[in-house]
């Protein structure tokens, strides 16, 4: 049988489906999961193979981690999640046992999702789009995460930017918060918001806070991978900062050794 989950509210829908499936004891291998519009699948109409109901009582940590991992882009995540839920509920699996390949895979995906959310919280760049005469300021951003994480990532922005309206568009979903109301919809188009003069000040800051005497490019690149650069207004300064760093350090060093060392004033 096929279970089709909606694009918005995917995880909540999965949870409801899992309760329904477990209540009739449907085995994991009998379910095909998909997101989006229901496909015309013959099996879709097949009657549910009834088995023994599985009561679902899981540790809270487990529920949180499994649901986080469901925001991964792996198409197998829903099936894996359901299978793990059943094994945990039947006590065939101990939560946290990393020697179990499926659970380890799930925990790795949970970590990848959390990292992606964390990066989104850091790397979204708003541009001001306040309409003339508006009494609330408005900002918009375009962001490209690795995984479909807009829904779990958005509440952070709602908590943080309480007195302004904002919109974050991604290739899948868009999150919008107007006068405190957070909502999601499918993204139409992908135009980046118009330029914002404060970005120039930010670029000045980024270039000035960099210390050319301590070039550590690998550390930068591992924390701020290149795939994010195209949506970061400061990133196109990086190649030149790196290129000119040795010359800047040499110049400072020369100035230091050649200039007469003056006694303190006064």
């Amino acid at each position: 049988m096929q279970v089709v989950l909606p694009r918005i509210g995917t995880v909540a829908a999965w949870r409801a489906e899992v309760r329904r499936l477990a209540a009739t004891g449907v085995p994991p291998e009998a379910v095909q999961w998909a997101v989006g519009d229901a496909a015309d699948d013959l099996f879709n109409a097949a009657p549910i193979a009834a088995g023994r109901a599985v009561p679902l009582t899981l540790p809270r940590d487990a529920v949180l981690a499994i649901e986080t991992a469901l925001h991964h882009s792996d198409p197998q995540r829903f099936a894996r999640g359901y299978a793990i839920v059943l094994r945990l509920a039947r006590k065939d699996l101990r939560w946290g046992d990393r020697s179990d390949p499926a659970l380890r895979r799930l925990l790795d995906q949970e970590k990848a999702v959390r990292r992606d959310i964390h990066k989104m919280h850091g790397f979204v760049r708003f541009r001001e789009v306040t309409p003339p005469g508006a009494n609330r300021r408005a900002f918009a951003a375009w962001f490209e995460p690795d995984h479909p994480i807009v829904e779990p990532a958005a509440p952070f922005f709602a908590r943080r930017f309480g007195d302004m309206d904002w919109l974050i568009a991604t290739p899948g979903l868009t999150a919008r918060c107007e006068t405190g109301q957070l909502e999601f919809f499918a993204t139409q188009g992908c135009a980046a918001p118009p330029a914002d003069a404060t970005e120039d000040l930010w670029r000045v800051y980024f270039a000035s806070i960099f210390n050319p005497a301590r070039l550590m490019i690998a550390a930068m690149a591992s924390n701020m991978p290149r795939k994010y650069w195209k949506n970061l207004p400061e990133a196109d300064l990086i190649p030149e900062l790196i290129r000119s760093a040795p010359a800047r350090v040499r110049a400072a060093h020369d100035a230091m050794t050649s200039a007469p060392r003056r006694p303190p004033r006064g």
């Binding site: 850091g122 760049r125 806070i209 490019i217």
Partner: protein, 409 residues
Amino acid sequence: MAKRTLSEKLALLADAAKYDASCASSGGERRSSRDGAGLGSAGGAGICHAWAPDGRCVSLLKILLTNFCIYDCAYCINRASSRVERARFTVDEVVQLTIEFYRRNYIEGLFLSSGIIRSPDDTMAEMVRIARTLREREHFRGYIHLKTIPDAAPDLIAEAGKWADRLSINVELPTETALRQLAPEKSARTIHGAMAEVRARAEAARDRSHRGARPARFAPAGQSTQMIVGADPATDGQILSASSRLYADYQLRRVYYSAFSPIPDASRQLPLTRPPLQREHRLYQADWLMRFYGFAAAEIAPPSGMLDLEIDPKLAWALAHRGLFPVNVNRAPREMLLRVPGFGTRSVQRILEARRHRTLRYEDLLAIGCVVRHAEPFITLPGWSPRALPDAANLRARFAPAPAQLSLF
């Protein structure tokens, strides 16, 4: 002097602030603006919004209010006798930059320090005014870190703590002798006095009175300090014991180490070369071992007083105490597991958790996330035993990197 634009001031006063290593924005009070009546949130894990090519995270708007200074600290680019270009922000400029950067999600908040203009009190009062304006006029609920001027009046420090999440007072140098020589206007007694003051106020703020009244808020994210490394002859051993005293006496959240940068127009008392960056890195590792792994300063700093630049201090300790290894992973107490190279605090937690249920095998360590390659010579468990521990020289060679790196010249 021609009037500088905001952008020119920002370039100068951010450049002047880059020697301050701190960028922490985590901990402290949980706040949000979900009520719609303000801007900002704080209290979760810190967020880095960018990384500069020096590998440092950009989390706060880190600037000086001004780089004019009436003091003459020999190691500082902003000292009175330096010929550096000077600039000064107005209170409103700092407030606007913070708010506008914050709204665009560039930063977690503000880290403000300053050269001393007119007097310590005048300068501190202006910094406090910035923090107060952010909180009261702009309803800003993001993170504020104020670098406190130790000679400022106690009521200014009290007010700073009312608005800021974190206060820091830099000890500047590891020993009093060095401070006397290189920063003649500063005194270790004043610096320590100010730290004690901050600690006492922070404790008072946490204590509810017996009537249950809520005490005034004071720097909920605590205090930190910074020490310059390599401007004076202090050894790593001296530095680490100074740090452990600071942690104990003033309940500091962090001690930051900043490798001395030789500066143009420097005073004669200073070295012309910078210490290797690796030294700073090893000090951070050693500091970490003191705070989370149960090491005492004296255990980490070797007899020479200097940390090994080629291998990390935990490995160095293990090599110097080979008689205590290999450790039985299924039986050793937590304190000993923490001393195994390649085992982090989280791995140790997972080992303890997993071995309640069954005996751990070698393969499990990989799944747990240990750096098995580093741990191998020091552990034994089913599926692995290191036979005889290789001799120290060979072991060291196994971990030490090929020499020559990190120099730009």
